[in-house]
Symmetry: C2
Subunit: 213 residues, 2 copies
């Protein structure tokens, strides 16, 4: 005796939400654009006051002066909103590891790039962690969000370049598990772990993985 309650793959009803930070293509109604700006501004303000964990969708709607339905139409879900708020920082990080200067960007040895990736990622999480954690509260996915897929592919590529031939896809998945925001934040917040220690452990782990052929 249980309602079947099938899994909502795409929470936004029929039309997928436009959850991007940029104006999202040419055709967009003025009111929609204005409301998105209003909502993003209100969200940032609310987070500044209450923290990301303290933001509720109803409060956001009220502060922005729009209906709750509009909030969900824009962002699809709370996690979608958080991802939108993160998208600039995320894109900047992506740019750095794909096109930036070594050792993070191309030009350095694969192992050095792997080390730099983790170290920078740890710093990134410690800066934007509260948002990142909130963005991962999506009921499903979270592993198949575009950004996460991209990191894993990047790690996989570096592993291959470094000569790790045994199932680099899964190895990249394991390594990225180590870098998940929730884990890192928990270590720092609950155990008072120094960020440098996290970075050191990452260096050690990835070095062993590459060298231990």
């Amino acid at each position: 005796m249980c309602r079947v309650s099938l899994i909502p793959i795409r929470p936004g009803g029929q039309g997928g939400p436009r959850n991007s930070a940029q104006p999202a293509a040419d055709t967009e109604r003025r009111d929609a654009a204005r409301n998105r700006e209003l909502l993003l501004r209100a969200a940032r303000g609310l987070i500044e006051e209450c923290g990301a964990a303290g933001l509720t969708m109803a409060a956001l709607a009220q502060r922005a002066g729009v209906g709750k339905g509009t909030v969900f139409r824009r962002f699809g879900s709370r996690a979608g909103l958080m991802m939108t708020l993160l998208s600039d920082a995320e894109a900047a990080f992506q740019g750095r590891f794909m096109f930036g200067p070594p050792p993070l960007g191309p030009g350095a040895e694969p192992l050095e790039r792997l080390i730099a990736f983790g170290v920078e990622r740890i710093a990134w999480v410690l800066e934007f962690g509260e948002l990142a954690r909130a963005a991962e509260e999506s009921p499903y996915n979270r592993f198949d969000v575009p950004a996460a897929v991209l990191w894993r592919r990047h790690l996989e590529m570096l592993l291959r370049e470094a000569g790790v031939t045994a199932d680099p896809w899964l190895m990249a998945a394991s390594l990225s598990a180590t870098l998940e925001p929730e884990r890192l934040l928990h270590a720092v917040e609950a155990h008072n772990l120094a960020p440098e220690r996290l970075a050191g452990s990452w260096r050690d782990l990835v070095t062993r993985v590459v060298r231990g052929a």
Copy 2:
């Protein structure tokens, strides 16, 4: 303008819930014991019919013929209920890696034990994964649940025995991240990954970590 909403460390109000499967000490009122049995029986039935994800606390209360408050008094939270339901399987697994026969239990080489630990854990997660996933939906902790602490300590000990001297505590944390139910289940369910491939990758990872001094 936001309600401060402080973090509920222990959800059960003043007195902690008795969320153990066994009768939990000598002094327990008859009605409480009877209701716990009723609730556990009802929970198992409900999960059989609807899956762990489909179990709601209200439905459980109704099926057991008790009030909703009683359910939360017993188990503290939904995650607490799931942990209680898992506790037998969990204890059995703990017994095997602590006192059982090699290569999982004592007697084998540390690296062999590490490999066996991951392989058995993967099999365990694939068997009880739905429950385990539901048990990890606790808003905070999840890393500091007794069972999780115990695995990490076990991994840490094996790493030390295997000669891994560089921050074995964090290394154990990284390794256990690889084995988290949500990750493993996602790989198997969403990417149709063969369990043997997971096991193979674990073997490879842990071998590299130990050998790559």
